[in-house]
Amino acid sequence: MPKNRTEVLVDVCKGCGLCVEFCPKKIIRLSDDINSSGYHPAEIIDQEKCIGCGFCYLICPEPAMVIYREER
C-alpha cells in the first residue's frame, strides 16, 4: 500500500507536461493514450515513490491532480 497517492483526472488533463518537468521524483510521464479532448494525459509511473509534495497539483493549470497523503 503506497503511503501517498496522486490521481490524474484523465479527461481534465491537457497534456502540457509541466507536472512531468517539476515532479521531484520524476514519476510522471505523458501517456500514449488519448483522452476525450484529444490530448495525451499525464500518468503516474511509480505510485510507490510518490512523496505527496503536491508540486504537480500546484503547477497544474486545470487542476487535474488529486493528492492524498498518509495520516500522521
Binding site: 503547477i59 492524498y68 498518509e70
Partner: protein, 249 residues
C-alpha cells in the same frame, strides 16, 4: 489517507478552455482556493476582464460581472462604494489593464479604492492572436512586430508596478510569477495578503502575476516557464514594491 489537494470549491465544474500550459488556470485556482480558505466566497464579487479570461464568470463559483474592456476598476469602485461589505476583486490581463484600462487603474490606485486587483501579465495579447501589448519586452517577437519589438518604432514597455508605486495611494503592490511551484506558493501568499488588506478595509492592493502564454510565445509550456525565469523576470523584477500595513507597525 487524507485528500490534501483537489479541485477547490471556488471553481465550478466547467472545464477551462485555456490552452495547455496557460498560467490563467493556475491563477484562477489560487483565487478559488483563497475564496474558500478565507470564507468569503458567499460575499465576493469578481470582475472578469476582456481577453482570454473573459469567460472567468463561468469558472469562478462566486458572483461575477463582466464590464466593458478595461473598465474593471471603475465598476469595482462603484460596487465597493455602494456595498462596502462585499469583497471585490478585479481580474485583469495586460491588454485590459495596461492598454485600454490605464486611466481606470491609475485613478483607482490614486484614490486608494478598497478592492484587490489581480493583474496577469503575459507580455502579449493572447485572445486576439499574439499582437504587441504594452508589456511586450524589447526585441520580443509578436505577430505585429515580426522582427522583434523595436523600441524606437513601437515604444517602450510599461512596468505597471513601478508606475503605480510612484503614487501615494496604493497600500500593497507586489509582483510575483506562476512559472514554478515555489512561485505559485508565493503568489498565493501575495494574493491572500491582498484580500486580507481589503477585508481589513485598508485600501488598494495590486498583485501583478507573470504568466505563461505558450501558444503565442511559440514555445512549449516548459520552455515558457524557463523563459519567464531567464528573460521576463529580469525585465519585470519579482519583488514586493510596497506594503504600507507593515510600515505602520
Amino acid at each position: 489517507m487524507r485528500k490534501v489537494y483537489h479541485r477547490p470549491e471556488g471553481l465550478t465544474d466547467t472545464l477551462m478552455r485555456y490552452c495547455p500550459g496557460c498560467g490563467h488556470g493556475i491563477i484562477h485556482r489560487i483565487i478559488a482556493e483563497l475564496l474558500v480558505e478565507l470564507n468569503i466566497r458567499e460575499r465576493t464579487v469578481g470582475i472578469a476582464p476582456v481577453g482570454c479570461s473573459v469567460f472567468a464568470d463561468e469558472y469562478f463559483n462566486c458572483d461575477m460581472i463582466q464590464p466593458a474592456h478595461g473598465r474593471g476598476p471603475a465598476v469595482a469602485t462603484g460596487l465597493k462604494r455602494a456595498n462596502p461589505d462585499l469583497i471585490v476583486f478585479s481580474y485583469q490581463g495586460d491588454g485590459d489593464l495596461a492598454a485600454i484600462g490605464t486611466a481606470e487603474i491609475v485613478h483607482a490606485a490614486a484614490r486608494n479604492e478598497n478592492f484587490t486587483v489581480i493583474f496577469v501579465n503575459n507580455a502579449i495579447y493572447g485572445m486576439t492572436g499574439g499582437q504587441l501589448a504594452p508589456t511586450t519586452l524589447p526585441n520580443m517577437v509578436s505577430t505585429t512586430t515580426p522582427r522583434g519589438r523595436n523600441t524606437k518604432l513601437a515604444g517602450n514597455p510599461i512596468r505597471v508596478c513601478e508606475l503605480l508605486n510612484s503614487l501615494d495611494g496604493p497600500v500593497y503592490i507586489n509582483r510575483t510569477s506562476v512559472h514554478t511551484p515555489q512561485w505559485v506558493l508565493k503568489t498565493k501568499k501575495a494574493i491572500k495578503r491582498g484580500f486580507e488588506i481589503q477585508m481589513a478595509k485598508k485600501g488598494f492592493a495590486l498583485i501583478e502575476v507573470l504568466s505563461m502564454c505558450p501558444t503565442n510565445w511559440r514555445m512549449s509550456p516548459i520552455e515558457s516557464s524557463r523563459w519567464i525565469e531567464e528573460v521576463m523576470s529580469k525585465y519585470y523584477e519579482l519583488k514586493l514594491f510596497r506594503d504600507l500595513t507593515k510600515e505602520e507597525k
